[in-house]
Every structure is written in C-alpha cells, then in structure tokens.
C-alpha cells in the first residue's frame, strides 16, 4: 500500500466516524485545529447520506420526522456504505432496514411505504412501453394459450401491503391534509411510467399476485401452476386488471 492509499484509507475511516487519532498527525493545524476540520467532513458524510435518502423517500421522512430520519440515515450508512460514485441506487436497501426496525411496531407499514417510493424512482429510470391489448390473444390457437409468455412493462413495479399504502402516500403529498385510516385494509399498487410521469393505480390482490408470477418470463401454464386456487378462479379478470393498469406490454408465443 503506497502512502496515498494509506492516507485515503485513514481519511475514509475517520470521516465515517472512527477515532481521528490516526489522521490528526497528517493534518495541518493552525488557527482552526485539525480535529475541528475533520468534523466538517464527518458532517458532510452524514448530510450527503441523509439528502440522498430523503430524495428517494420524502414520505418516509415526513412520517418519522426530520430528527428520526437523520438517525435512520446514519444507521443505514453504517450498514450500507455507498459502493458507487453515483448515488442513484444508494438507498435501495432502505425498505429492508425499516422492516428490521419497525415490523411489529406502530410503524409497521414504513417499509411498505419505502418500497412504494423506491418503485416510483425505479419506474422513472425505465423506458416507456406500449400497452397490450388482450384482444390480440384471439389470434393464438386455443391449444397454444398455455404457452403464451406475457411481458410486463419494463417500468412496472408492483407493491402490496396489508396497510392502505397508496392512501398513506397520497395523504403526504404537498397541500394535502394528512388524514388516513390505517385500519382501512390492504392496498396493492401498480406503478409504471407514462410519458414523463409515473402513474400509480390500485389493483386487486389477484392482479398483484398474477403480476408477480409473470415477472420471471414464465408461460401461462407455469404461471397457472404457481397461482393459489382463489386467483386461478378469477385469472381472466386478474389478467384484464393488470392489462388495464398498463402492466403488460406484449406477449410472445415460443415456437414449438
């Protein structure tokens, strides 16, 4: 390890919060002590992390408040140091961090809200796609319907919760009175890009489960095998719901 590498490693550890003793002899001290100068970079590290998370999770920040969010950001940074010069994906593990901290508490739903906010950001990064017209299935020979592979829209993200997550999200948008009944039941949301915007639509549980089963490129026969009985019973309706939500871009029929 050369001296530049050693110096950068010492800086990185100290700026993340390790004891500064290893670095202080390397720093110029004058009217402002070196230990004080180190504090600026420690503060920057915390701020950069908090801002990156707040950009992706503004509703979570509103729900927990600024002080708690800062504390959560510090905890997250300790567990998940950034691995890229691009902060775009820095916060992708944040929903799991919230689950670990709040599942079973009065803030049980926070991880689900974070997943919805992450889905919105992810949809913004994907291409827009056409919407499948299910009438096109009429051209498929009946004995080949089971081989059909439905392709979800690239920007489609499905988020479900036993809480009314879309209602919670909407209640925490600017100029909206934040009032929502947490006991009003589960909500399932289809998130996708439409033009320059992201659209969020409520879908039913069956469409949500079907959408998840379609995601891996499985044929309709394979999807059927994976579905619970109650969804199989309403499969055509679930497929139509998913299509109307813009969740399907096209289908393909592999050659025999």
């Amino acid at each position: 390890m050369n001296s530049l590498h050693r110096l950068q490693r010492d800086c990185e550890q100290v700026f993340r919060g390790a004891g500064a003793a290893v670095l202080l002899p390397e720093l110029v001290g004058n009217a402002v002590p070196a230990a004080t100068r180190v504090e600026v970079y420690r503060n920057n590290a915390r701020q950069i992390c908090r801002k990156a998370l707040a950009n992706t999770y503004p509703v979570v920040e509103q729900l927990v408040g600024g002080a708690v969010f800062r504390s959560l950001a510090l905890e997250y940074l300790d567990e998940h140091p950034s691995r890229s010069g691009d902060l775009q994906h820095f916060g992708r593990e944040f929903p799991a961090t919230l689950d670990a901290l709040y599942r079973g508490s009065q803030y049980d739903y926070l991880g689900d809200i974070a997943r919805l906010e992450l889905a919105v950001e992810a949809a913004l990064l994907e291409p827009e796609a056409g919407t499948l017209d299910l009438d096109a299935l009429a051209d498929v020979p009946p004995d080949r319907l089971g081989d059909v592979v439905f392709n979800p829209a690239p920007s489609l993200r499905l988020v479900g919760s036993r809480y009314p997550l879309l209602s919670i999200w909407r209640a925490h948008q600017p100029n909206v009175e934040p009032s929502v009944d947490l006991s009003s039941g589960a909500e399932y949301v289809a998130v996708r890009r439409v033009g320059d915007e992201v659209e969020m639509r409520l879908i039913d549980r069956a469409a949500f489960i079907l959408g998840g089963a379609l995601d891996g490129g499985a044929s309709l026969n394979q999807v059927w095998d994976a579905l619970p009985d109650d969804v199989r019973e309403i499969l055509p309706g679930a497929l139509k719901t998913l299509s109307l939500a813009g969740g399907l871009s096209h289908f393909s029929l592999p050659e025999n």
């Binding site: 530049l4 110096l7 002590p33 970079y41 691995r83 320059d196």
Partner: protein
C-alpha cells in the same frame, strides 16, 4: 443582459450560464427562459432509458449544455470505475455537450464511496497518479475534459507544493484544462490562510476553459468559523471582487452560476448570471 436562448446548442459560448437542476427542468423545457447555457450534473442522467436523460436531450435542442461530473473520483487510488465511465461516455455521445468536466479530488477507497469531493495531498505521488487518471479518462471519452479545483477544509502536512501549482501541473501533464471555481478559491483562502489573488495570478490564462461562481456559508465547528461550499446562497461580494480579477486576467470565459440546495426561483439564478455577464462586458470596455 444575459444573452437569450441561442438556438445554437453547440459549443459553450463565453457568456454566463446557470446550473440545470431538477425542479427547474420543466421551466427550461417549456418556457425557455433566457440563459446563455446550462450545466447538468452527469450522474443525474446515467439511466439510458430514463425520463431524465430524455428531458435533457430535449433541453439540449434549445440550449448549449455542459456536463459536470461529481462521482468519477479522479484522485482515488481505487481503479477507475469503468462502469461509471462507460455511462458517462454514453451520455457524452448522446448529449454532445460543449464541455465535460470533473473535479480534482477523490471520493472512494477500497470500493467504499463517501460521495464527497475530498482534497488530495499536494505531493508528486498524488500528482503523477491523478494526471495519469485524467489522461486515461480523456482517452476513454475521446475528448479533453476540464478539471475543477475543489473547496477544502483541511490540508495535509505531506504537501510539497501549493494547491494552484498542483492544479496547473495536473492539467498540464494530462492535456486537460481548468474549470476554475472562484468561490472555492475564496473559501480555501479563508480556511487555509492564503491570498486568493496569488492563486488567480498563478494560473496560466490559456488553461482556463470555464469559471464557476457559487454561494457558501460560514459555519461554526467547535467555536471555530469555517467557510463551507454549500451552493445554497447568492455569490458574496468578496467572490464577485475576485471574479473581477479573474476576468481581468483570463478575459471572457464561460461562467456558471451554481446553486444546488435551497434552490431559489430561476429568476434569481438569471440575475446572478446577468451580473457575471456585466462583469465581462465591463472588462471588455476597459480593455478597448
């Protein structure tokens, strides 16, 4: 007055421009306020299929655009992030910016990123390392880049040269040019105790391709005042005075008003740009 939408979205003109930030994008896209040129943070447009880059492409049709990176970590001892560089190369090819710039700093070590613009020690070892990296980046992008001096809050005992000698030598060895941030010079002069005029005078005129102006804040740490480059305020009078000196030395130079947090209305940025433009006009008149 700041020149209006040029209709020629090519090279960056030697006039004042403003930073393009998310909340202002729709305004530049639809209302097309008069700005000489726009500068975008490269990393915000890395998703090839995303909405952001498609929007930038449309804005690029009406304004000259420069791309300014914050995450390449030129001075890091880690290997250059080829994935990051690949995304930048694709973006450069797609947007065809008038200028591409990065920072003379480091931000990662052993694969862990602080996502900050951290200062290098001003040593021959660091100089040789960063000059080679800049050259490598230019080779991979197939074009010259500008390298920006960063604000700093500490200095290393092992430094053997001044910050400005390090900057000039780094770009001279690599064939790059300088994006001279006048606010950063001022911030560093206060934080480290040097004459900012010495910095300006030491930079060869031919090397400066762009100037940045921004606001900073005075913050208290352990009862000590430190100037922090926060990009959340108007350019202060002392920095405007230093900009006068810079324009007197370098002549008309593309000048950007940077503002990144607590973003004001676009009109505030444009008013700052007008002042920069007036400085360049006054300088021309004096020289005539």
């Amino acid at each position: 007055m700041t020149q209006g939408v040029s209709g020629d979205a090519g090279p960056i003109p030697a006039i004042a421009g403003v930073g393009l930030r998310g909340p202002h994008q729709a305004l530049f896209l639809h209302d097309k306020p008069a700005a000489g040129w726009l500068e975008a943070h490269s990393e915000n447009y890395f998703a090839d299929d995303g909405i952001a880059v498609a929007t930038l492409e449309r804005i690029r049709a009406d304004y000259p655009v420069s791309l300014h990176g914050v995450g390449l970590s030129l001075g890091s001892v880690d290997p250059l992030d080829t994935e990051h560089l690949g995304k930048l190369a694709r973006l450069v090819k797609r947007i065809e910016p008038g200028l591409v710039s990065e920072h003379l700093s480091w931000g990662s070590v052993d694969g862990r990123h602080l996502n900050d613009l951290l200062p290098l020690p001003y040593t021959e070892e660091a100089l040789a390392h960063v000059a080679l990296r800049i050259e490598d980046v230019q080779n991979r992008l197939g074009r010259q880049i500008l390298v920006e001096n960063v604000s700093s809050y500490l200095e290393f005992n092992c430094s053997t040269m001044t910050e400005w000698d390090f900057l000039v030598e780094a770009v001279s060895r690599s064939g790059a040019r300088i994006l001279l941030d006048v606010n950063n010079i001022y911030v560093n002069s206060k934080n480290h105790g040097f004459d900012p005029g010495d910095y300006i005078e030491a930079v060869p005129t031919a090397l400066v391709g762009e100037i940045h102006l921004a606001g900073h804040t005075v913050q208290n740490f352990d009862e000590h005042e430190i100037l922090v480059d926060t990009h959340n305020a108007l350019v202060c009078e002392e920095v405007w005075n230093l900009y006068d000196a810079a324009i007197a030395r370098f002549g008309r130079t593309p000048t950007l008003i940077e503002w990144d947090s607590e973003l004001p209305p676009v009109e505030t940025l444009l008013t700052e740009a007008e002042r920069a433009e007036q400085t360049m006009v006054n300088c021309n008149e004096l020289a005539a």
